[in-house]
């Protein structure tokens, strides 16, 4: 195992989890909820929070039964190398591609607002360079950066107070989850907005305080849930239901409504702030991929692995070139990641159980 000088405080873990979870899906989440859960779909966030809390509970079991040992050690000690490496390969592919496609999606939406004809891959390259600089600094510095980014982003929740005047309770209607709904498939689409907490599995060996580690992950997940709940609740009351189902990115529309006496069309500026949460999402998924790759290739320097992972995914990101394709990729990677989020801790728990039996 790599020698770690500095460890992550619970506060940093909380913020890191929040920042990984908050990604590009938040822009379309209110619409996804309206389309798939119908009237008052925002309440489905509570259900998702319960599911993610249960998933974190699984991670807490891994943490407790594994006694704070890295999951890689557990896997490698119990599984044949071939099997372990196959699992690693799947994890590396999903994580690195997820980080990459999140960046591409952010860039494509950004280009709807500004620089529409510049090649998206140039912006993607810029994001990747920043990501590279962060990843190579190690997890402790990433978490410090995440904490400062957090303050740049979280104040935006206060902007929701702008909508108190135009919020209409009548838009909420008394119906719960009625209309044309798709709980299962649509639910999975919405749930991808919550993903990111599973990275906590990799953070176990870096935690400073093992007792407070899981609590910190739970709090991070709760902050995400509360933010989502507030944003979606405001969207459901501000837009009429029919309108909400037709808006591609309701959050962008919501932001564009804010007008200050000296400035309007703030969404262009505010969308820029979201780069910071996106960046941490991208960085952490790539970091996870690189950490895993390091187990397969322990002798190669981490910096070269970073260049390799970012470079390869950059080339692959060239393939989906229009918004529809990028969204499709993101959707499927989201499904795959949901499987990893549940599958990985379950697998490790089974291994731990068997080992205990022996």
């Amino acid at each position: 195992m790599k020698k770690v000088k500095e460890r992550l405080a619970p506060f940093h873990i909380t913020i890191l989890i929040f920042m990984i979870q908050t990604g590009v899906v938040i822009f379309s989440l209110p619409r996804l909820l309206a389309q798939n859960f119908g009237y008052n779909g925002w309440l489905a966030i509570v259900i998702f929070t319960c599911i993610s809390t249960f998933n974190i509970f699984l991670i807490s079991l891994v943490h407790r039964l594994g006694k704070g040992i890295s999951i890689f050690d557990i896997l490698e000690n119990s599984l044949p190398k071939f099997v372990a490496y196959t699992i690693y390969f799947v994890m590396i592919s999903i994580w690195s591609m997820l980080g990459c496609i999140v960046a591409k999606q952010y860039v494509i939406v950004f280009q709807m607002i500004a620089f529409p004809t510049t090649h998206p891959m140039f912006f993607k390259a810029l994001v990747d360079i920043i990501a590279y600089l962060l990843i190579t600094k190690g997890i402790y510095n990433i978490s410090k950066a995440a904490t400062s980014f957090f303050w740049i982003v979280i104040w935006m929740v206060l902007l929701l107070t702008f909508f108190i005047h135009d919020f209409e309770w009548g838009n909420l209607t008394p119906y719960l989850f009625k209309g044309s709904t798709s709980f299962l498939k649509g639910g999975l689409d919405c749930y991808t907005a919550f993903l990111g907490y599973e990275i906590a599995l990799l953070l176990i060996p870096f935690a400073e305080n093992h007792k407070k580690f899981i609590k910190a992950v739970h709090i991070g997940n709760l902050i995400t849930a509360i933010t989502y709940l507030l944003v979606c609740f405001v969207c459901f009351g501000f837009f009429s239901f029919g309108q909400l189902t037709r808006l591609k990115y309701p959050l962008l529309d919501l932001l564009s409504f804010i007008k200050l006496p000296f400035i309007e069309r703030l969404e262009n500026l505010l969308y820029g702030f979201f780069l910071f949460t996106m960046l941490i999402t991208i960085v952490m998924y790539c970091w996870s991929a690189i950490e895993t790759l390091q187990r397969i290739l322990p002798k190669v320097k981490a910096n070269w692995l970073t260049v390799f992972v970012l470079g390869t995914t950059f080339l692959i990101a060239w393939i989906p070139d229009v918004i529809g394709k990028v969204e499709k990729w993101l959707q499927f990677l989201g499904y795959a990641e949901a499987c990893v989020a549940f599958g990985l801790p379950t697998l490790i728990l089974i291994i731990l159980r068997i080992r205990k039996g022996h």
Partner: protein, 371 residues
């Protein structure tokens, strides 16, 4: 150690320079301020309707001969027209500063959605762009220069803004129009204007069924409509109590609306619209003494009665035209279960529901003069 930093700096500068590709230079841009849409009369029985689209672009140059530029094109869609318009000017036309859209009456009668759809789809266009209906031809109104009011586009925009604050016209933007259009319990409305000699005047409020203009509220009843449509602060209402030859002017009005829905059996609904009004009287012509409490009570009652009758007339007119501009459907919907609401064809029931209007007026003060 310095090598990667140098390498990255070069890369960043390199990519930064590429960003210069999508340049926007202020002096070379024509910021469309107002756009007008008109439907041209169908010539030669052609199948496709032609649109006449005009834009008004304020000029930044203070010493220039004109304060604004207007361009007109005839085309089938608004974006095609934009290309045609751009052929007529040295400026690149951009719509980020668009403030108002004017729709001619004939186009409004045919339906506005396909034009509004283009506007809400374009990320450059703000949701706060106003939607206005012109009683007549929108192009003529926009291109005309009104001598006392320079820059027609800005003049109309500011007038609507100001009147919106005074509650005479609702503040209708792309956001509000789309919100009401896609809500199954309310129909959109929009302010209506008209050109009269050297001025543009508020002509009333256009009422829509879905996206089609149906009828309008006349300009002398604007505040009654505002009272019916929702809560507001700060309005002025002039009341002619004709039978008694009295005239009252209520200022600083604060109006609150409460709606109660009662269901009496199968698809039978009755609605109570309860209004409480509070205002100051700054003008009164009549025989009553405002300083006398009994007289004030009398006056309050007659004002309430007057508004009640006006409101009832207005609601009946809307019911006859099948336009639910007050959002009564939202209240009915929210009082029913989901299956009851989906089985109900609201537009068919709406004309037959019983609507009762109750008004309570309170005179807060009557100025600084006793008798």
């Amino acid at each position: 150690m310095h090598k990667p930093i140098l390498f990255c700096s070069i890369l960043i500068v390199m990519f930064g320079i590429v960003g210069c590709g999508d340049q926007r230079i202020l002096e070379k841009l024509g910021f469309t301020h107002t756009t007008s849409y008109d439907l041209l009369p169908n010539e030669n029985n052609g199948t496709e309707d032609k649109l006449m689209i005009s834009v008004s672009i304020p000029k930044a140059d203070p010493d220039g001969p004109t304060k604004r530029e207007t361009l007109t094109a005839v085309s089938t869609t608004s974006k095609t027209a934009k290309i045609m318009l751009s052929r007529k000017t040295e400026l690149s036309l951009v719509s980020g500063q668009l403030r108002n859209t004017l729709f001619g009456l004939t186009l409004a009668q045919k339906g506005l959605w396909e034009h509004i759809d283009t506007l809400v789809r374009d990320p450059a266009i703000s949701q706060r762009v106003k939607v206005t209906v012109v009683n007549g031809n929108a192009h003529d109104l926009l291109v005309k220069d009104y001598l006392p009011h320079p820059r027609t586009g800005k003049y109309i925009d500011r007038m609507l803004e100001k009147e919106g604050k005074a509650q005479t016209v609702p503040h209708i933007t792309l956001f509000e129009f789309t919100r009401d259009l896609f809500d199954d319990g309310i129909d959109p409305v929009a302010p209506m204007i008209r050109s009269v000699n050297e001025d543009v005047v508020i002509d009333g409020i256009a009422l829509f069924n879905e996206d089609r203009y149906i009828t309008k509220i006349n300009s002398d009843k604007l505040l009654i409509f505002s009272i019916l449509r929702g809560n507001f602060k700060e309005g002025e209402l002039s009341v002619d109590l004709k039978s008694e030859g009295e005239h009252v002017m209520l200022s600083s009005l604060v109006s609150k609306r409460k709606i109660k829905v009662q269901s009496s059996g199968h698809n039978q609904f009755s609605i109570d619209i309860n209004i409480s009004l509070k205002g100051s009287i700054l003008e009164y012509i009549g025989n009553l003494h405002l300083s006398d409490e009994m007289d004030r009570k009398k006056l309050e009652n007659s004002i309430s009665e007057y508004i009640q009758i006006e409101m009832k007339d207005m609601v009946t007119k809307m019911q006859k035209s099948k336009v639910d501009s007050l959002g009564l459907g939202i209240r009915i919907r929210n009082s029913l279960s989901y299956s009851e609401w989906t089985n109900l064809v609201w537009k068919n029931i709406y004309p037959n529901i019983e609507v009762r209007c109750n008004v309570q007026t309170k005179i807060k003060d009557y100025g600084k003069f006793e008798k």
